[in-house]
Every structure is written in C-alpha cells, then in structure tokens.
C-alpha cells in the first residue's frame, strides 16, 4: 500500500544569506516557518516543488519537509526542521536575533 501523503511545506536556504526559508501562500520566501503554505495535496506539492526549484537565483536546496497545522500556522514535525526554524541553541543568533 502506498504511504499516505502527510502535509508538507516547501523549504530551502536563501542564496545570499544561507538562512532557512519557507515558501508562503503568496509565493514569497519567508524566514518564518509559521508563514509557510501547508500543502496537503501530493500532486499540488510536487508541482509547487518543481516551480520552486526553478527559482535558483533566490534559493538553494529546495525540498519538501513534513509539517503539521497549528493555530499559529505550520509547525515542524522533525527536530531537525524545528532547529532550522529556530536557529542554533548555543547563541541567540540567526532568526532568534532577528526576532528579538
């Protein structure tokens, strides 16, 4: 039996800063995972992924990451994605610095 499709977000690293970014419903790259568009349909996710991969002058290493819906927008499923969304744990650098 094929595995059921689980919700995904499209993510990558920004070309210039290297920071983790997510694709929003408006087609912008946001540094906030919670702004991402949660894709629940497999065919749509594949189409959007291909389109995002073509944006090579903006981002590097586009892929689909598992995410789940929350009241505040998509949230990470795996801890690696949680760290990407938050920044390193030893210094308040990256996104944490921008947020504060």
């Amino acid at each position: 039996m094929p595995r059921a499709f689980t919700p995904k977000v499209i993510t990558a690293n920004a070309l210039l800063s290297g920071d983790a970014v997510w694709l929003t419903p408006e087609g912008r790259w946001s540094t906030e995972l919670s702004h991402a568009e949660l894709l629940t349909d497999e065919a749509q996710a594949t189409t959007k992924l291909t389109a995002a991969e073509a944006r090579a002058s903006e981002v590097v290493g586009v892929y689909l990451a598992d995410a789940r819906a929350t009241a505040n927008g998509p949230a990470p499923v795996h801890f690696r994605e949680a760290f990407r969304a938050r920044g390193p744990s030893n210094y308040p650098h990256g996104k944490q610095a921008e947020a504060s």
Binding site: L16, G61, S89, H93
Partner: protein, 552 residues
C-alpha cells in the same frame, strides 16, 4: 614559521580572484547551484543549516599574531564576532554571506591564509602535533615535513580526484598528540636502532562510519624518503580505492579489503619505481623550509617570579598545574589556553579573545600560536617568568579555565546546531556535561579524562577515540546518544566499545555522571586514570554504573 613565497602568494590571490568571479556569476544567475557547488567547496565554503560556513585552513595548526588578528577582524566584519576552532585544526566561520566571501578570502590572502583543500577528494590540510617545535619529548619539529607535504599535495595534478578525501597527520615525537592512527596516513617520528630519526608510517586509520585503527606499513622510513613513499601510498590508493561506493572509498577500506601485506607489497614496488624521480630537489626544499622553522631565540631568565606566583595565588597554581606542559628549552613551558570554559561552546573564541591571544603570543610567546585538534589554543613557547602576566591577561579575557585534559575539556563537533549532516546536537550536551562537573567540583579529582562528542556517524568529534565517546543519533525522530567506552587516540590507539542502548537527550548527562562517579568508586587510587581502570576491570562494572536498572 613558514613564509609564503611569491608563488604561494600569487596562487592564493589568484584563487580568491577566480572565486570572486564565480560568486558573481552565481548571483547573477549565469551559474546554477550544481555548477557552482564544486567551486565553493574547493574554496572551503559549505552551506549549513542556518547559513554558509567558511572553513579556513590553519596548516599544521600554526599561526602567528598577525594571522590571529586577521581572523578576529574577519569574524567581526563579516561574521558574528567569533570563530570556531575544529578538530582538524581549522577555523570555521558560521555566518558569512555569500557575497562577502570573496572579500573574506582576500583578507585571508593578505596574511598568507586560504580555504583551499579544506574540502573535496584531495589531500586535505595536513595536521600535526600542536606542541610541535616545543615539546620536551620531541625528536624533531614535524612541521617542515607537514609543510613539504602541503606543497607537494596542493594542486598535485594526479591527486585532485582521489576516490575520497585523504588526511595526513604527522608528529615529531613518539608520544602521539596528533591521533596519527586515525588518519589515512599517520607519520609518527621514531628513532631506529642507530639512533637516526625517521617515521613509523601508518596507513588506513580513520573514524566515521567504519572506524579503524591504522596499521604500520613501514616501521622505519628515513626522512629523506618520505615524499616518494607517501606518493607511492596515495598512488596505489588512487588506483585501488573503490569509486563505486562512497562508504567504501577511504583507504582504510582498501587496506581492510586487500590486507596490509598486499598493500605494503604494492606500495614498496611503486616506491622503488618512484624513488629515482625524487632527486635531491625535495631535500633542498625541505632544507629551506626547515630554516624557516628554526627555533626562536630562547631567553635566559630567572624563574623566580613563576615560583612566587605559584606560592601566592592558588588559582594560578591550579592553572599552571593543569594547563602547562614540559618544554624542550630550559625555563620555558608550553601553555594551553582552554576554549572550554564550563558552559561555553567548545572551540569558540570571540574576536576580542583572539586579539588577546595574539597580543600574548607577540609579547611573551615568540609570535607563535597553535590550534590543537582538541579545540584549544596553545602558546608553545612561554618563559616561566612571563606566565604570571600571561595568566592575568587570560583571566581578564575569560580564557583562564584550568581544565586541560580534564572532564570538561570536551571535544564537540558543531552537530545539529550548525551542521547540515548532523543527526543530533552535540554542543548542548558538551555544555551541560561541563557545567555538571563544574558544579560537582570533582574534575581535578577525576583527573585525565577525554570525553568526545560527535553529532553524526562522520565522527568529526572523534568520539570513537574518546575515553568516553558520545554519538548523537536520530532514533525514530528523537535525539538519542550512544556511549562508547575505552577509546584512545594516543600512540596506544583503540576504538571505543559500545556500552549499550543509547540515552535520550535529557538522560545523557546523568548517565555520564553515573559513569564517572562509578569510576571514582572503582579506581584503585587517585593515580589510576579512567582509561587504566577500564583496561584493568573491563567494561562490565562501567556498564553496570551506566545501566543500574539492568544489573539490579
């Protein structure tokens, strides 16, 4: 130390210019990422979890004050005001912007530094004993050999596309402080029966997915025959090494699959063929390099200020007991500066701290600094009479932690806080263990203990050769830490043995504490180290301390 020739300077400057053009073409869209990636890796630029990372080579871990200051400037201007020193004796900048990297490379070139061959399937930055040229037990300074190998391997036409990366480590004394047995080639200086200096040549060591201790291919190689012999090894590997499977491509697998006897036969045959091609030229070059590494002019002075400070200041006494090592020159010591303040990130130094270390090297240390694979900084030549001032300056810069070789002097790779390959974090584990031992105030009593942490199977944190090794894994979507026991990275190298099931992130620090307290209860007396007790008793009582519920 080694001074760049015009050739070297042109080479690195041209490389930086070339890369500037490549970055511009990537940004304007004329290069795709697939086209660009090999170029950026060739220049030490990686893409990590949150940013790019620039890895800068510090050949054989040696740098001078001006170079350290330039690293401080680079960290401040283009990064976040700090740098991370690695187990490969490199420095990594964790936050460069792509468009700034060419300027960073230019700034490095200004002080004769670069990021070339810090990646790719080439002969990587040659590492060396961080006490080179200073250690009391040294036969000869290994850095001229390391430099000769660097010149020979840099852009060597035959060896730019090896089956896999290739790492060489060299030590100038029989005491192995460079983990030579965990390298593709390890060169350990020894004396033969006639008292002449040469190298014990070790091949096929390596950590990572399939850890192996290197085997001796030649018990004694005269120094003059080094280059043809190393070239013979690399060229046999280049032909024989597996290119079909990335995980079987390192020379350790080649040695394992063909056996050391067969490899030796092939290498010796190749060596015979190559020997005549290496005329006196390389010996001449070696002679010139050796002159550049001539020992500094050591001063004669009274050591009374040192003795007085030890009497007067218990903190200085503790630091000098722990962080000094015997020097070959009378009245001198090797001072290790710990980058392992309890709770800090192992191996990190701020720009301000780098400048303090540069100043100290200039004023008291014959303008020399070293980076150790244990992620500390060394002042290799300090006269005892200058140590009280050195210590005071280190204290003011928060660099005076007295823990070299102790439980909190932990090696930790960047792990999942930065590294894109990681399966779990390592830095927070190191921070918590160090803080725990600081709170217990037991580490001086515990004595020599090497804890090493890697955030994935690639083992950059050398966990296999830690007395206590910790490997961070992803077990069904949760961070999980596996412990190995009894590893050893010295001349008596061995791979640690897995202790049992892994521990969750919130259980790993208590587990290490149980283990170490268990050792305290098991040891014969305070002179028996963790590793000695482990060898005497075997793994069982240590496992019982780790897994009390099982033995209950």
């Amino acid at each position: 130390m080694y001074q760049y020739s015009d050739f070297d300077s042109h080479f690195v400057t041209n490389r930086a210019e070339e890369f500037r053009a490549q970055v511009a073409r990537r940004i304007d869209g004329s290069l795709t990422e697939d086209e660009f990636k090999p170029f950026r890796l060739m220049n030490g630029l990686y893409l990590q979890l949150h940013a790019y990372m620039l890895r800068v080579a510090i050949p054989y871990g040696t740098l001078n004050a001006a170079q350290m200051r330039q690293l401080a400037m680079i960290a401040e201007r283009w990064d976040k005001g700090y740098g991370h020193f690695t187990t490969r004796q490199n420095i990594q900048f964790n936050w460069p912007k792509l468009q700034d990297v060419p300027d960073m490379l230019d700034a490095l070139a200004e002080v004769g530094m670069h990021a070339i061959q810090t990646s790719g399937n080439t002969v990587r930055n040659v590492t060396a004993d961080h006490f080179a040229g200073a250690a009391a037990d040294e036969i000869a300074d290994p850095r001229p050999i390391a430099e000769l190998l660097r010149q020979w391997s840099t852009d060597h036409p035959e060896f730019q596309a090896l089956p896999r990366k290739f790492k060489i480590a060299v030590t100038g004394s029989e005491t192995d402080r460079a983990v030579t047995k965990a390298h593709d080639i390890g060169l350990r200086m020894v004396r033969n029966a006639a008292g002449e200096a040469g190298f014990e040549v070790i091949v096929g060591g390596g950590l990572g997915r399939t850890p192996m201790i290197g085997q001796v291919i030649r018990p004694f190689l005269p120094v003059a025959e080094l280059l043809p012999y190393v070239e013979a090894i690399v060229s046999v590997y280049n032909l024989l090494g597996r290119r079909d499977n990335k995980y079987k491509a390192r020379i350790k697998i080649t040695v394992h699959e063909h056996g050391i006897a067969r490899i030796r036969e092939l290498v010796e045959a190749r060596f015979e063929a190559l020997k005549s091609r290496f005329t006196g030229a390389s010996q001449q070059i070696l002679g010139q390099i050796e002159a550049m590494f001539a020992p500094p002019h050591f001063k004669q002075a009274s050591t009374a200020p040192f003795d007085a400070a030890r009497q007067a200041d218990p903190l200085f006494r503790s630091w000098s007991d722990t962080n000094l090592s015997p020097h070959k020159a009378e009245g001198y010591a090797i001072a290790s500066i710990s980058l392992k303040k309890h709770g800090a990130t192992p191996g990190d130094a701020t720009s301000a701290q780098m400048r303090v270390m540069a100043d100290l090297a200039e004023h008291y240390g014959h303008n020399e600094l070293r980076i150790s694979h244990e992620q500390n900084v060394i002042l290799p030549h300090v006269h005892l009479s200058d140590l009280p001032e050195v210590y005071a300056a280190l204290r003011a810069a928060d660099l005076a932690t007295a823990n070299i070789g102790l439980a909190s002097d932990i090696i930790a790779c960047p792990g999942m806080d930065y590294c894109a390959l990681a399966t779990a974090r390592s830095i927070p584990v190191a921070q918590e263990i160090a803080e725990r031992f600081a709170a217990l105030q037991l580490e001086h009593d515990i004595g020599a203990l090497k804890i090493k942490i890697s955030g994935c199977i690639n083992a950059c944190g050398h966990h296999h050769v830690g007395h206590i090794g910790i490997l961070g894994l992803d077990r069904a979507g949760v961070e999980n830490y596996q412990i190995t026991l009894g590893g050893d990275g010295s001349e008596t190298a061995s791979i640690g043995e897995r202790a049992g099931p892994g521990f969750a992130a919130d259980a790993i620090v208590p587990a290490i504490e149980r283990l170490v307290l268990g050792y305290l209860a098991l040891r014969q007396d305070a002179s028996e180290t963790f590793l000695q007790a482990y060898h005497r008793l075997g793994a069982a009582p240590f496992k019982a301390a780790l897994y009390p519920e099982r033995s209950a």
